[in-house]
């Protein structure tokens, strides 16, 4: 397959216009010493061959028949209308809206996205998107450092372990220290962050990063964490799950200063880890320290309303080494997916998705408890993911995977203290029958 439109006659005409005799002359400026040697790239494929190759690879994956795996990436219904819109070439094959007169579709949809994220989170300003939830969290922590002019960050051990790793990598750049706030993971613990532990973290702390619900599904005392952070002059960065915000208090209401989230549950398939969309929201007073693109409304000379990229004096293409971040390309098309999703489900649909996920997770926990197969590891309440104590969890998790059943996530991979537990998620797509089959398979694996 070649996508070149040129005939040999076209090429000859262009060469003649340029005044050279061969395409080789176009590369005369590559010094002889560093010209490319041969490579081993294979020969081209026709479309049907390319399809066969990709179908081969897709076929090598085994999509589980039944899955209770979440751990930051959730399987929700993606309404057909979402794929229809984000597949439109006017959205998919445009670039960053640098010329607003011919980019109003992209710009207005980003303005709507920003509006929806503000409404969900109860915050005043949201960015046009970040790479994912982890990098949005890291950028929010760096932003808190700029706002407070402090250089230490505290992160709850209840934040997704991937996010904590990314946060540490990002903070290692400017040399910001990251301290971990423990979570009561021990047997009989509540699985949440102790607000009382914040006071001892020192008066040079820029922010406390905590997740609601946390990685283990537990509901954190966010208002108390916000108060504790504010008492030592630090900000609260709330890491949230967007669908939960149909039922849970928005971070704006409990005093969060910054919000970061993974937007994948909003109409984006798991796709082996991406593309997803990072969400970030803040208070208006902090807007000039926000990283990444922002779209604002304005008017043209005739008074017609329109949208533009704005407050660009924060960004790398204007400020270069003084920019708030180096981010340029973000995840615009995925932000559009989230926008279409939220419009498609509306407030009632989002509540239904959240309530069903909450109900089926309780159904799952109760079914495992009733069968004597598992017990909840923590006290307190959970959202739509639950940590269950399961004897011999690693072996049984592997045995079930062989049968095409993914019994959630194995926390002991990252957290030795949680040996013999499973982190199980249910969503609106989880059926009663799937829960029954998990109970049966887990019972048979004893």
């Amino acid at each position: 397959m070649s996508y070149s439109p040129h005939t040999e006659a076209d090429r000859a005409r262009m060469l003649e216009a340029i005044g050279i005799s061969s395409v080789e002359d176009l590369f005369a400026d590559v010094p002889a010493a560093v010209r490319a040697s041969d490579w081993q790239v294979p020969p081209p494929l026709t479309e049907q061959e390319a399809r066969a190759e990709l179908a081969r690879l897709a076929g090598r994956n085994r999509i589980p028949e039944i899955t209770f795996l979440g751990a930051g990436v959730y399987r929700h219904l993606v309404p057909a209308v979402v794929g229809e819109i984000i597949g439109r070439p006017e959205f998919a094959t445009a670039y960053t809206p640098y010329q607003p007169e011919v980019s109003q579709g992209t710009l207005q949809s980003i303005y709507e996205f920003q509006s929806l994220i503000c409404e969900l989170t109860g915050m005043e300003v949201a960015t046009a998107s970040h790479y994912d939830g982890a990098t949005a969290t890291a950028e929010a922590a760096l932003m808190a450092c700029r706002l407070t002019r402090r250089g230490r960050v505290a992160v709850s051990a209840g934040v997704n372990p991937d996010y904590r790793r990314v946060l540490e990598t990002y903070c290692s750049g400017p040399g910001i220290e990251v301290v971990t706030v423990p979570v009561g993971l021990a047997e009989g613990g509540n699985g949440t962050t102790d607000p009382g532990s914040i006071a001892n973290l020192g008066d040079d702390l820029a922010c406390v990063v905590a997740a609601q619900p946390n990685f283990y599904g537990q509901l954190e005392p966010m208002a108390e964490l916000a108060d504790a952070a504010h008492r030592i002059g630090a900000q609260l960065v709330a890491v949230v799950e967007p669908i939960s915000l149909a039922l849970l208090e928005p971070p704006g209401a409990y005093g969060a200063d910054l919000v970061a989230a993974e937007g994948q549950p909003l109409g984006i398939p798991p796709s082996f880890g991406g593309p997803y969309v990072g969400l970030m929201a803040a208070r208006m007073g902090s807007v000039r320290q926000m990283p990444g693109r922002l779209v604002g409304a304005t008017r043209d000379a005739e008074g017609r309303k329109g949208y533009v990229l704005t407050l660009q004096a924060r960004e790398q293409h204007i400020r270069r080494e003084k920019a708030a971040s180096n981010i340029c390309t973000n995840q615009a098309l995925m932000a559009l997916a989230a926008t279409v999703y939220l419009a498609a489900v509306g407030p009632e649909g989002l509540r239904e998705v959240a309530e069903l996920s909450v109900a089926q997770t309780r159904h799952l926990a109760a079914a495992l408890e009733d069968a004597g197969l598992a017990e909840r590891r923590f006290g307190g309440s959970y959202f739509a993911e639950v940590t269950m104590r399961v004897p011999d969890a690693a072996r049984r998790h592997a045995a079930l995977a062989e049968q095409g059943i993914v019994a959630g996530y194995l926390p002991e991979q990252r957290e030795p203290e949680l040996r013999d537990t499973l982190l199980l998620a249910a969503t609106e797509l989880t059926t009663d029958d799937e829960i029954a089959r998990l109970v049966q398979a887990l019972g048979e694996s004893r």
């Binding site: 090429r11 340029i18 294979p42 007169e101 790398q316 419009a343």
Partner: protein, 543 residues
């Protein structure tokens, strides 16, 4: 807006009322209210089942959501029917220019055709439904695809190892510079090497990245031929320099014809040679940065390897590195745990799987800088880029660069009578003109010229970049535009240059055929309006 056939303006009053039954303009001039304006209580699109009896019964014994954690009042999301929302977004789509609609010679962005078979591949349920944390035995296809793509990128770039994890070009830069710092620290030179050298023609992301890693940026001037000034570079290099970040071909579209000496000088000084790979589309099969001595480079899969730009992302910014930087790559890495690499490659090239081959994610990388993103990167972009590279194959990749460079040079010679060409020499995939003559002689700026181009259904070139060219117009035609399209662009540009002489006011008024005219960006920044204000908020603020 139909860009091919510019409609007239008929609704000067502002955004119309498409939802109240009118079409919100006439013909194809669409003015579209916000989705919130269409919201009506109880209107619905998607519905979900009710919780089952069993689920309700089970919930009784489980903890409830505590009242203290509950939200008061539902979020005010729009309440719309499916058809209304579909029309809303479809009408917004009509307001965009895009590659699939018309020519998009936006320099530095490589707006080439995005083949549709790539989209088909990325949507295959076996790939799209694959959960990143599924046990590895269920994800062998995803892991093999990542491993194969990394092998191809290594081969194309001449590097020893590739990580696919960074989500965009700037993210790849960040990754590469964090690795640079880890490398120097490991050698006990972390404290002493504090500076990053960046040519004055560089993308803004380069200095911004250096800052994010805690480095000080030192700008190196370009010489009169548009290349990096070798004398200035040598003068700046020393034991305090961590790296040179250089774009090659440069943002002027010029291949650094002393690149071998540049790399040698950087290496002699003990610094890392970073190549910004934004312009790789010009040099496939002609120059392999790893082979030429560079230590690290990011690829932009959304430029060179045709994954759609999506209105500003998602992209993907894998990085290739030399052996000395390999230990610092982000974790985890997809690896072939069992099987012979040569056999697996040969089989994959023959569209076959290798019996017994097993892939896994290697997270045991003690010197790694860590993770830069959750999971493994923008996997859906890997699928598209892999499909693209396999479709084109060895010869196809070479043809891409040949045709891209041919088209840029064709535009260079066809347009340099009408527009100044500050660096009049062989170009690579793009060529940078200057509108300074039009500005000086007729008071028509490059911004005016760009806006005038819009009225011809063509997306303007990148403007006012690189910063070292006055009134810059940076044109990148790519390899997928036909000669007829290139010739039409030449005619349009000549026409505008002529009109600048005869009727400059008309150009200063452009565009006149787009859904909105020039927007007041200063007002947007002065009084930021960054989200929809609900009616009750307005009332509350007035009360």
């Amino acid at each position: 807006m139909s860009v091919a056939e510019p409609p007239g303006r008929s609704d000067p009053s502002g955004r119309g009322s498409a939802f109240s039954g009118a079409t919100g303009g006439s013909g194809l001039t669409i003015v579209e209210p916000l989705i919130f304006d269409a919201s009506r209580r109880e209107r619905r699109a998607v519905r979900f089942p009710k919780p089952s009896e069993a689920a309700r019964a089970a919930a009784a014994g489980q903890p409830e959501l505590p009242a203290s954690a509950r939200r008061r009042g539902a979020p005010r999301l729009p309440e719309v029917s499916e058809l209304e929302m579909l029309r809303h977004f479809n009408r917004l789509a009509h307001l965009n220019h895009a590659i699939d609609i018309g020519f998009y010679p936006l320099g530095s962005c490589t707006m080439k055709y995005n083949p549709k078979v790539n989209e088909w591949a990325a949507r295959l349920p076996g790939l799209a439904e694959s959960h990143p944390l599924d046990p590895a035995q269920l994800s062998q296809g995803s892991l093999e695809l990542m491993w194969l793509l990394a092998e191809l990128l290594k081969d194309i770039s001449g590097f020893d190892a590739v990580s696919l994890q960074p989500a965009a070009g700037a993210h790849g830069e960040l990754t590469g510079m964090l690795m640079t710092r880890a490398y120097h620290r490991d050698r006990g030179e972390g404290e002493q090497r504090t500076k990053v050298l960046v040519p004055d023609s560089a993308h803004g992301t380069n200095p911004a990245t250096a800052t994010m890693v805690g480095y000080e940026t030192v700008t190196i001037r370009s010489n009169e031929r548009g290349g990096i000034d070798l004398g200035a570079l040598r003068g700046a290099l020393g034991p305090d320099v961590a790296a040179l970040m250089i774009t090659n071909p440069s943002t002027l579209g010029i291949f650094e014809d002393q690149i071998d000496q540049v790399v040698a000088a950087v290496q002699e000084a003990g610094a890392i040679a970073y190549m910004d790979g934004a312009n790789l589309n010009a040099i496939l099969g002609r120059f392999r940065p790893g082979e030429a001595g560079f230590d690290v480079m990011h690829f932009n899969l959304h430029k060179t390897f045709s994954t759609p730009h999506g209105g500003g992302g998602p992209g993907a910014g894998p990085i290739g590195v030399s052996a000395r930087l390999e230990p610092y790559l982000p974790a985890p890495m997809p690896v072939l745990a069992e099987g012979d690499p040569a056999e697996v490659l040969a089989n994959a090239w023959a569209l076959r799987s290798t019996p017994g081959a097993r892939f896994e994610l290697d997270d045991d990388r003690p010197k790694s800088i860590g993770k830069v993103r959750s999971c493994y990167g923008n996997f859906g972009m890997f699928v598209r880029a892999y499909t693209y590279i396999r479709s084109n194959g060895s010869q196809g990749l070479r043809t891409i660069s040949e045709d891209a460079v041919l088209a840029a040079n064709y535009l260079r010679v066809r347009l340099h009578d009408a527009y100044d060409l500050p660096y009049d020499r062989l170009s690579k995939h793009e060529v940078v003109f200057s509108g300074r003559r039009q500005k000086r002689e007729h008071g028509v700026t490059t911004l005016d010229i760009a806006k005038a181009i819009l009225d011809h259904g063509i997306h303007p070139p990148t403007i006012y970049f690189p910063l070292i060219v006055e009134e810059a117009l940076m044109v990148e035609p790519t390899e997928t535009e036909s000669l007829e399209t290139l010739d039409r662009f030449v005619d349009v540009m000549h026409g505008i240059a002529e009109q600048a002489k005869t009727d400059p006011d008309a150009i200063r008024r452009a565009p006149t055929t787009t859904p909105v005219g020039r927007l007041d960006e200063a007002a947007a920044a002065r009084r930021p309006d960054l989200r929809h204000t609900f009616r009750d908020e307005t009332e509350a603020s007035m009360a």
